[in-house]
C-alpha cells in the first residue's frame, strides 16, 4: 500500500478506469467512446482527459438519447470498431434496454455467429448520499438474467483497471458496473498493464467457518464485517466474484464445500436479485455439504428513498452482513 513502491501505483477507482481506457485507446485505435458529457470527463470523472489525448473523433459527446447511444455502439461494433458506451447512472440504461437486450446481446446468436459485438457498456450504480429513487439503483439482476451479456462489477482500483482492460479486449458485449461510492476510493494498482480475466473470482480472505460471497461495494462492507466477525471468533472466508457473467462458481463451491455455510451479499434488491441465483446454484451443487440455509443480504423491496435514515433502512451494509453471518452460524 506504499505510495509508489516500484510495482504498484496508488490511484482512485475512477482514475484506474481512465487509465485502462487510455491504455486500450493507445493500443487499438478501433476503441472509441460514446457518452453524454464525456468531453468534460463524465459525471464521475470516468473519462477525464481522454478528449485531450484522443480528440473528438474518438471521444464523442452524445445527445441525451440513451437508446441511440447503444444502437450507435452496436452499429459501430459490428462494422469494425470497439466502442465503449457510457450511461452514467445505471437507471438510464432503462431507456436503452431494447438496444442492450434485443440488439447488442442477441446479434451474434441470432445471426448464426457471423458477427461479434465488441461493445462495453459502462454504468454507475448504487446509492450515493441520497440520490433518491431514480439515481440509486443497482440493476445487475436484470443484465445477468439476459443471455448474451457479460457482466462485471469490480470493487477496487486494481480490478477496475484490469477488468476494464479485459472487457474492452473481449469480443462480446460487456456491462461494466462501477459503484458510485467507490469511484473516488484509492488503492494500489500494479504498475504494468495488467488484465483481470473475465470470469475469475478472488478469495479475499480465507476462513474456516463460513463463506461470504459478494461483489462491488459490498466487498468493502464485507471486509469490515469479516474483521468484526473475527473479533467474535468467527472465521469467515470472503470471496469477491468480480465477474457475475461468466460466473466463477468453481471458486465459490470449493470454499462452500469446506465451510458449509454461506452468506451472499449485494446492495441490489434481495428479492429476485443476483444473490438468489448464487444461492440457488450453490444449493443445487453443494446441498449435501451445506450445514445451514444460505442467507442473503440485499436491499429491502422498495425504491431507494431519499431521506438518509430511510436510505439506510433500505440499503444493507456491514451490520447486515455481520447479522447474516451470525444467523448462518446459528447464533441468533
Amino acid at each position: 500500500m506504499a505510495q509508489r513502491d516500484g510495482t504498484t501505483r496508488r490511484m482512485s477507482f475512477g482514475q484506474a478506469t481512465v487509465d485502462a481506457m487510455r491504455s486500450a485507446m493507445r493500443e487499438d485505435d478501433r476503441v472509441v467512446v460514446l457518452g453524454e458529457d464525456i468531453s468534460w470527463g463524465g459525471n464521475f470523472g470516468q473519462f477525464r482527459g481522454l478528449l485531450d489525448e484522443f480528440g473528438p473523433d474518438r471521444v464523442i459527446d452524445m445527445p441525451i438519447s440513451e437508446a441511440i447511444i447503444m444502437a450507435v455502439g452496436v452499429g459501430a461494433a459490428v462494422t469494425g470498431l470497439r466502442p465503449v458506451a457510457s450511461m452514467s447512472f445505471v437507471e438510464f440504461t432503462l431507456g436503452a434496454m431494447d438496444e442492450i437486450v434485443n440488439q447488442a446481446a442477441k446479434f451474434r446468436y441470432m445471426f448464426g455467429g457471423q458477427v461479434s459485438v465488441p461493445l462495453v457498456l459502462r454504468a454507475s450504480d448504487g446509492v450515493l448520499r441520497s440520490s433518491a429513487g431514480q439515481h440509486s439503483s443497482s440493476l445487475e439482476g436484470l443484465f445477468t438474467h439476459l443471455p448474451g451479456l457479460k457482466v462485471v462489477a469490480p470493487s477496487n482500483p486494481a480490478d477496475a483497471r484490469g477488468l476494464l482492460r479485459a472487457a474492452i479486449a473481449d469480443d462480446d458485449p460487456v456491462v461494466y458496473l462501477e459503484n458510485k461510492r467507490i469511484t473516488a476510493k484509492r488503492g494500489p494498482v500494479p504498475a504494468g498493464d495488467h488484465v483481470v480475466p473475465l470470469g475469475s473470482a478472488a478469495v479475499r480472505r480465507t476462513g474456516a467457518d463460513l463463506t461470504i460471497v459478494t461483489y462491488s461495494v459490498m466487498t468493502l462492507h464485507a471486509e469490515k464485517a469479516c474483521a468484526r466477525l473475527a473479533e467474535m471468533g468467527i472465521d469467515a472466508e470472503l470471496i469477491e466474484l468480480r465477474s457475475l457473467v461468466p460466473l466463477d462458481l468453481d471458486t465459490v463451491l470449493s470454499s462452500v464445500v469446506r465451510t458449509g455455510r454461506v452468506v451472499v451479499a449485494h446492495e441490489a434488491w434481495e428479492f429476485g436479485g443476483f444473490g438468489a441465483e448464487v444461492v440457488a446454484a450453490i444449493t443445487g451443487q453443494a446441498f449435501d455439504r451445506l450445514r445451514a440455509a444460505p442467507v442473503r443480504v440485499g436491499a429491502a423491496q422498495a425504491p431507494i428513498p431519499f431521506s438518509p435514515p430511510l436510505e439506510r433502512a433500505v440499503v444493507p451494509g456491514e451490520d447486515e452482513i455481520v447479522a447474516a453471518a451470525r444467523e448462518v452460524m446459528g447464533l441468533c
Partner: protein
Amino acid sequence: MSLTETMSPGLALGIHQAMVRIRLFESRVEELFKAGELPGFVHTYIGQEAIAAGVCAALNRDDYITSTHRGHGHAIAKGMELGPIMAELYGKATGACRGRGGSMHVADFSVGMLGANGIVAGGLGIAAGAALSARYRGTGQVAVGFFGDGGINKGTFHEALNFAATHRLGVVFVCENNQYAQFTSRLRTTSVEDLSVRAAAYGIPGVTVDGNDPAATYRQTLEAVARAREGVGPTLLNMETYRFGGHYVGDAEVYRASAEVQARREEDPILRWERTLTDEGLMTAGAGDAVWAEAGEEVSAAVSFAEESPYPEGGTALENVFTRVR
C-alpha cells in the same frame, strides 16, 4: 404594446412575487447545500424564473404540470407552499413527499404538480396522459410538460409530441432552453439551431419565446393554453433562457466562460421585470423591496419549518411501495 394591455397589474405583480420567491428560495438552497445541510444533490432554477412564473400564471390551479430535475421553480410557481418543499429537500417527514423523494421528486398532486422527474424528458408523456385523462373526464384541464434543451433529443419527446398532436390533446410543451445540458452546449448535440422548428414534424405550432421576459412567457403560454383548452391541440414553446448557476450546486463550470455567464447574469430576468413594472408605473421602488423582504421571510420560515421537523423513522421505510399489499 403596453404591459397592461396583456395582463392586469395584479397579475404582473403576482408574477414578480413568484419570481422573487423562487430566486430567494433557490439562493437559500444553494447556501444550505454548500453548508452541508441538504442531502442528495440540487439543481437550482436561478435565472429561469420568468419561465415558471409566466407559464404558471397562465394556468388554473387544477391544471397540470410535469417537471424536471430542476423542478423547485415549477413547484413554487404552481402553488406549492415553501415549507413542504424545503422540508422535502432536507429529507424530513413533513416534506411534500414525506422525505421519500427529495429535490428531484418534489410533487404535490393537490395543486396539479405531477412531480419533478429525475429522468430527462420523463414528464412529457405523463403530461400527455394527464391531458388525455382531462379530456376524457371532460374537466377542461390542460397540462404543461416542462423539459430542457437537452431533453429535446430524447425519444420520448418525439413520441409524446406525435401522440399529443395526433389526438389534439391539451398539452403545452415548454422547452426551457438554457443552452446547456449538464456540461454540454446544445449546439454540440442538437442538429438545429432554433428548437421551435421541431414542431413542424408534428404539424403543431412552434414558437421561440424570450424566456427571460415574463410578459412573453405568459402571453405565449396563454395562447397555447387557449388552443389546448379548445381542443385545437398542443403547442411547442421554445423559451430561450440561461441558468446562472452550475448544472448542480457544486459544478465547477469548466465548460463555459465566466464572461459568458457574467454577460447573461446582467440580463437578470427579475431586475428586467422590475424595470418594466417601474417604467409602466406598476411598482414603486419601495414596493419591490417589500416583495423581496416578504419572500425572504417566507423562505426563512420554510427553513425553520424544515429544520424543526423530524426525519422519518427508518421503520417506515417500506410504507407506500404499494397502496395495498395484495
